[in-house]
């Protein structure tokens, strides 16, 4: 198993945010976590990438324990996190943003090749490479955030609501890109409120409800599940 969470619990001060989360991500797959506002999706991703302390439980990545390592150590091991709200660096240019993703990498040529690969994938970013990131539209910023994460050369990509606030056409585009990245061998954990999109893309799904896992299963099975249809697909 590439990534494994064992009975993980996280709290903000005294308030418990998630508890008893156990989930697995096999190599090469897309796993999704769906759930409504405040269910604990973001908290789970933040625990994995070290932004928030794990209170209980363990996180294992590629055979090693990573819970409560510093975020930069976790990136170094190959977990990239495209955070909720994109969080690009507003006053850096597009290219500078992308290059921060390669901060830990010393092989200049490989970094240059990856940069070109990102520009191939997102030709829009190439056109705007010298522009300040804050002057870009939401969709462009999302692509920049994804490109920046790819520059870390991830072995696992965490994505927190990449479709948030974007027009349907752009959402489709982002979905296509996530599929493409995965097809090229990068496993993904996709967190979404857009359950339709998530279940379509993913191989396996977990449903989070008020801080605990309510349901899990292959994505197509959950797509047909009564409860999921009523609560998340609005059917």
């Amino acid at each position: 198993m590439l990534l494994e969470l064992r009975a993980v619990a996280v709290a903000y001060g005294k308030v418990s945010a998630v508890r008893d989360i156990s989930l697995e991500v096999p190599d090469g797959r897309i796993v999704t976590i769906i759930g409504s506002n405040g269910a604990g999706k973001t908290t789970t991703l933040r625990a994995i990438s070290g932004l928030t302390r794990v209170r209980e439980g363990e996180i294992h990545f590629a055979g090693e324990r990573i819970d409560n390592l510093a975020p930069d150590r976790i990136v170094a091991r190959g977990i990239a996190h495209v955070p909720e709200g994109r969080r690009i660096f507003p006053d850096l240019t597009v290219e500078e943003n992308l290059r921060t993703g390669a901060f830990l990498r010393r092989e200049r040529e490989a970094v240059q090749r990856d940069l070109e690969a990102v520009y191939d994938r997102f030709p829009l970013l190439l056109e705007r490479r010298t522009q300040l990131a804050k002057t870009m539209s939401g969709g462009e910023q999302q692509m920049l955030a994804i490109g920046r994460a790819l520059m870390t050369r991830p072995k696992l990509l965490l994505m927190d609501e990449p479709s948030m606030g974007l027009a349907p056409k752009i959402v489709e585009e982002i979905a296509r890109i996530i599929g493409e990245i995965n097809a090229q061998g990068v496993p993904v954990i996709l967190v979404e409120q857009n359950a339709e999109l998530a279940l379509e893309l993913a191989d396996y799904a977990y449903v989070l409800e008020t801080g605990s896992l309510a349901l899990e299963g292959p994505a197509d099975e959950l797509h047909d599940n009564e409860h999921v249809r009523a609560a998340y697909l609005g059917i």
Partner: protein, 289 residues
């Protein structure tokens, strides 16, 4: 008249030089670490005392003393980061209070070591460049201005062109997002603190031969630096440099043609005016204020 204007202009540039060095360090530390370093004036003071010790007392060459002062104060900055800014990272008010405590400790230590008196540093050079019979520019002041320009340009190149400079700017804009790119917050905090403190130290070292050095000399410098960074927009390095120059010109000219107290009042009035018209400072953006 032209002589007086030329001399005063040079004095203003000279004041702008060390003010900018102090203010830029303060902004860098605030930008990366999110804390106001109240002990920054005392770091300036330490730099000046390095000159008293190494140059005046031990008779080593002035440039050696400047290098020692800069490095020593930079290391003091590293110590501050480790001792209290890091443990208090999630508590900016705590960091501020700790830096006030540290300021008093530094003043006390220096008073114990050197005594509470004015130290007079022998002049480094008395040379003047004679432009005309009446316009004579002291070489030392010109050298200080040049040194400040070189230091600020190097800082700019570091921030824009190097990997760690990038990391510093990214960290200042969004520490969490920077951590997700593998940029260690401890590391950027250390770099910012070393550079920020070293700049204050070198400013103190460069001005020491022209002012009277005493344990409380940090006060007026920090007040000026605060005015400069607030008017410039806290968080803006360019703002700090530009406003340092503007403020120094206003202050120096008013001091020369009226007097120092009026100059201080004018400075504060300008601060007030800017805050009323643009509360985020001239070069600040709303989200950093």
């Amino acid at each position: 008249m032209i002589e007086l204007l030329a001399q005063t202009g040079l004095n203003a540039l000279y004041a702008a030089s060390y003010t900018a060095l102090v203010a830029v360090g303060l902004v860098l530390i605030f930008g990366v670490m999110g804390v106001i370093n109240f002990a920054h004036g005392e770091l300036f003071m330490l730099g000046a005392y390095a000159i008293v010790a190494v140059y005046a007392d031990w008779n080593l060459p002035y440039l050696v003393a400047v290098a020692v002062g800069m490095t020593f104060v930079g290391i003091v900055g590293l110590g501050m980061e480790r001792a209290f800014f890091r443990p208090l990272r999630d508590n900016p008010l705590g960091g501020l209070v700790a830096s006030i405590g540290f300021l008093m400790i530094l003043q006390a230590l220096v008073s114990m070591g050197f005594g509470v008196r004015m130290e007079h540093v022998p002049p480094v050079t008395q040379d003047v460049i004679v432009i005309t019979e009446k316009v004579r520019l002291p070489v030392f002041r010109l050298a200080v201005i040049l040194a400040a320009v070189v230091l600020l340009a190097s800082l700019w190149a570091f921030l824009k062109k190097t990997r760690f400079g990038w990391a510093l700017r990214a960290s200042a804009q969004d520490p969490e997002a920077a951590a997700l790119q593998g940029i260690s917050i401890n590391q950027t905090a250390r770099i910012a603190m070393f550079i920020g403190a070293a700049l204050a130290g070198v400013a103190g070292a460069l001005t020491a031969p022209l002012i009277s050095v005493n344990p409380h000399m940090g006060h007026s410098v920090i007040v000026t630096a605060f005015i400069v960074i607030i008017v410039g927009g806290i968080g803006s390095l360019e703002g700090a440099v530009i406003v340092a120059v503007a403020y120094a010109f206003v202050h120096t000219f008013v001091t020369t043609f009226f007097d120092g107290v009026i100059a201080d009042i004018v400075g504060l009035l300008l601060l007030l005016a800017v805050l009323i018209v643009k509360p985020t400072g001239l070069f600040g953006s709303a989200d950093r204020a």
